[in-house]
């Protein structure tokens, strides 16, 4: 019914490539729909500047140039020609570590994704303009998205900028951000047929009904995750072994060549003699074979294992959506020996039962403070709004995500965080989770998450303290541009 992802991937990646080239070639133009020139210098005055959680400056300024934060401090001079903005509070913009905005709807619900599927290839920078503005108005400028959100293996995620009208190159902040998988998520009524929802105008199979499953399916799920990681690890090992074998082979070849060089005259004579003998006897002449001629073969290229190998090696985090104690415990036990693996749990409704292991292994949990009513997916039966607070109290690193189920959900990310605060968490921790915490967990801390020099300018100018009703968003700066003003409708 919907076009398959591979087709989409081809089309989109081609367009991404071409526009990326265009932007690189002529940085001054080629921004379809961009309202502000990229070169505009911004001078932001803050009555209170939250540099990073716990570091605040009174009466500070921020200079934004070429999309980046060029200076942060007090008593900064206004650069010539700079556009001046002011607000009572200025802080880093929020990042949704578990969202869906910016991904084409059919890529999101693709059920044929594998580890090598890249969400960046399913990015749609044109849709949902209204929703994008609403999301900016809520203070969220970046979202981590995932193709195949309802598949067992969703593939490589991407961190996207939300602002409408950005070029694809600007819209994709990080094209490779964590591999995502899921375990569990059965339906309440496993025997009912598939049911469908309209998501952003697309008919998609509802996740809960797509996942009728029993205990063995769940155990099998964990096995699937572990087998995949182990497969990736052995692939990586064979790649490394091949590298060494190749080096060794090259060394041997060199040695042999030197040896042959040395005895070149004799070898030449021998060869000529052999050739002559063969001719006389009417035989076919065969060149002498050396055992060094056999070049070691690399492991067959496998795009899934390429990704899984990086995951097993800790180069990319692995986000696993898992809720119930049994599955989570199984997952933690089965992955324990992979000491380089950087695991993140998404959901974790019953994660409190494994909090000690999560702390010990340093596994963060992306909590969605879900307002679950009757009839939800049964994995969410254990969901509780106090989860974030309880996990944090137990020492687990807590992040807040909007669940990846709908593009509209990221807009309410700050409210989700506020709900968690209303249920026992601290506002400071919630703010940290929405900014630097999420950025760190997704390996984008170098570009976003705090108001520090050199980072991409993702800033909120607020009327009051963040995460309060008074803290309404006045201006939003993303990729160094003013993407939302009080006049934006």
């Amino acid at each position: 019914m919907t076009p398959s992802l591979p087709g989409l991937v081809l089309g989109l990646s081609a367009s991404i490539l071409s526009s990326a080239c265009a932007t690189a070639a002529s940085p001054a133009k080629a921004r379809p729909g961009g309202e502000q020139p990229a070169t505009e210098v911004l001078f932001v005055r803050a009555e209170r500047l939250i540099v990073r959680p716990g570091v605040e400056l009174e009466g500070a300024q921020v200079v934004v140039r070429d999309g980046r934060i060029a200076a942060v401090g007090k008593d900064l001079a206004v650069p010539e020609g700079a556009r001046e903005l002011a607000a009572p509070y200025v802080c880093a913009a929020y990042l949704d570590p578990w969202g869906a905005l910016g991904l084409a709807a059919d890529a999101r619900v693709d059920s044929a994704t594998t580890a090598g599927t890249r969400a960046a290839d399913g990015v749609d920078t044109y849709g949902n303009k209204e929703l994008r503005l609403e999301t900016l108005r809520a203070g969220v400028t970046c979202v981590r998205v995932q193709a195949g959100a309802s598949a067992r293996v969703s593939g490589l995620g991407a961190v996207l900028r939300v602002a409408p009208g950005l070029s694809p190159a600007e819209a994709i902040l990080a094209a490779e951000s964590a591999l995502a998988m899921s375990v569990g998520l059965s339906a309440n009524a496993p025997n009912q047929g598939p049911s469908f929802d309209f998501v952003d105008g697309q008919l998609v199979q509802r996740e809960s009904s797509a996942r009728g499953m029993d205990l063995f399916d769940r155990v099998g799920d964990i096995d699937r995750v572990v087998t995949a990681i182990e497969g990736g690890r052995s692939y990586l090992q064979s790649k490394i072994e091949h590298k060494h074998e190749l080096a060794e082979w090259q060394k041997k070849i060199t040695e042999k060549e030197t040896e042959l060089d040395k005895e070149f005259k004799k070898a030449k004579k021998d060869r000529e003699k052999e050739e002559k003998d063969a001719k006389e006897k009417g035989k076919k002449f065969e060149e002498k074979k050396y055992k060094e001629d056999k070049r070691p073969q690399p492991p067959r290229y496998d795009e899934d294992n390429e990704v899984l190998g990086r995951v097993a090696n800790g180069e990319l985090p692995l986000v696993v959506q898992v809720h119930r104690t049994a599955e989570l415990r199984g997952l933690l036990a089965a992955t324990a020996k992979h000491d380089r693996l950087r695991l993140l749990v998404a959901g974790g409704s019953e994660a409190m039962n494994c909090s000690a292991t999560l702390v010990e292994r340093g596994v963060p949990v992306i909590v969605m403070p879900a307002l679950v009513g009757e009839g939800a997916v049964d994995e969410l039966d254990g969901a509780d709004l106090t989860l974030a607070a309880r996990l944090a109290k137990a020492g687990v690193e807590v992040l807040i995500g909007s669940g990846g189920g709908s593009a509209a959900a990221s807009r309410d990310l700050p409210l989700l965080a506020q709900i968690a605060v209303g249920n026992g968490w601290t506002r400071e921790a919630a703010f940290a989770a929405l900014t630097v915490g999420a950025a760190r967990a997704l390996d984008v801390e170098r570009s976003i998450g705090t108001v520090e020099r050199g980072k991409s300018a993702e800033l909120l100018l607020l009327e009051g303290e963040p995460l309060t009703n008074a803290g309404r968003v006045k201006y939003v700066i993303s990729a160094g541009r003013v993407v939302l003003t009080p006049e934006t409708k």
Partner: protein
């Protein structure tokens, strides 16, 4: 968060002594904020609300660091009844049915509502009937039924019609309703006389228009319930004199629905929030208000929709829904402003008795 200072001799006078609660701030019925607030509770009722001064002599004093307000009133709830008893699968018209007969206050979803600061629920018949009978107002602690005949539910949405039972069309349905109201008896008569408000269950824009026309023709009063974008017809609704019960507004709600709520407020149409609990989480009541506030609804209006206006729509405004003298003592102690989602419920009093406390949670 709060401490009870027990004066000597408390034990002897325990049941009769007034309880004086001091809070930093109070949200009053009109949404205004009172600083340095004293709320005195006597015999299950609020005997005074004032700013400053001292506690009345001989009262038990509770000092609360945070806010105090009346309990929240949730409209259109399904909590407190076995679900099967909210609807009848065979009969379309149940003009004499009363939800009060099916109420079971011990059901766990009622306590879930209490924990979120909701002290009264207007429990409503399911929307699958043409005439669903009377909703009832239930306290979330103590099991008191405040009103056994709060609203008469009339179905104007497509889901009120089922293909295998008569009537199967809007026109036939309207004709049946007209026939019933020609020589009304029982609850229908009360509705016709204006004693009992009518709850028009609607869903689409056309349902709203049909209900408005019917209300005008039959001179009925009451509220429209369940249509997200009712506010886009705010002018007509205002003319009709009907109120609006909003369907649950949750995360990911379209901005259009929120703008429509603002239109209602702008036009001066009274409205309250429906909950549908346990189908939706009880925390979604306050979330709905927060979403509207974020969209630009004034805080006092949002607060009224959660309390006094909702109580008025449920027809129990004389008894509850306001932090005011003479009202039943349903009060909530919050860690901060109840309109901030970051504020939490610290304690709930229903009819002057402590029904819930967050300590040790």
């Amino acid at each position: 968060m709060f401490t009870i200072l027990i004066a000597s001799g408390l034990l002897a006078a325990a049941p009769e002594r007034p309880l004086a609660i001091h809070a930093d701030k109070a949200r009053l019925a009109d949404g205004k904020v009172l600083e340095d607030a004293w709320v005195v509770i006597e015999d299950g009722k609020i005997s005074s609300v004032r700013s400053g001064g001292e506690a009345p002599e001989d009262s038990a004093v509770l000092r609360h660091t945070g806010w105090i307000s009346s309990g929240l009133v949730a409209l259109h709830a399904y909590a407190g009844t076995p679900r099967a008893e909210l609807r009848d699968t065979t009969r379309t018209m149940l003009p004499e049915a009363r939800i009060a007969w099916a109420l079971d206050p011990a059901r766990p979803e009622v306590a879930d509502c209490l924990r979120e600061g909701i002290t009264s629920l207007l429990v409503t018949p399911a929307r699958q009937s043409l005439v669903g009978g009377a909703g009832a107002v239930l306290k979330t602690a103590g099991g008191t039924i405040v009103s056994r005949e709060a609203q008469l539910s009339l179905g104007f949405a497509a889901m009120s019609y089922v293909s295998n039972r008569y009537p199967t069309s809007f026109q036939a349905g309207l004709a049946e309703l007209e026939r019933l109201l020609e020589k009304p008896s029982g609850l229908l008569e009360k509705a016709k006389e204006g004693e009992l408000p009518v709850l028009f269950e609607v869903s689409e824009r056309s349902d709203v228009m049909r209900a408005l026309a019917f209300a005008k023709q039959q001179e009925l009063r009451g509220a429209l319930s369940g249509a997200e974008w009712t506010g886009e017809l705010a002018k007509s609704v205002k003319e009709s004199g009907l109120s609006v019960v909003l369907p649950p507004i949750g995360l990911g709600e379209e901005r259009r629905a929120l703008r429509a709520v603002l239109s209602l407020a702008q036009e001066g149409v009274p409205f309250g929030f429906g909950l549908d609990a346990p189908l939706s989480h009880p925390a979604s009541l306050r979330l709905a208000a927060a979403l509207c506030v974020r969209e630009g609804l004034a805080a006092d209006q949002a607060w009224r929709a959660l309390s006094s206006e909702a109580a008025r729509i449920a027809g129990v405004e004389a008894q509850l829904g306001a932090l005011a003298e003479g009202q039943q003592a349903d009060v909530v102690l919050w860690s901060g402003d109840p309109l901030e989602l970051t504020s939490s419920v610290q304690a709930v009093y229903v009819d002057g008795r402590r029904a819930y406390t967050a300590e040790g949670r």
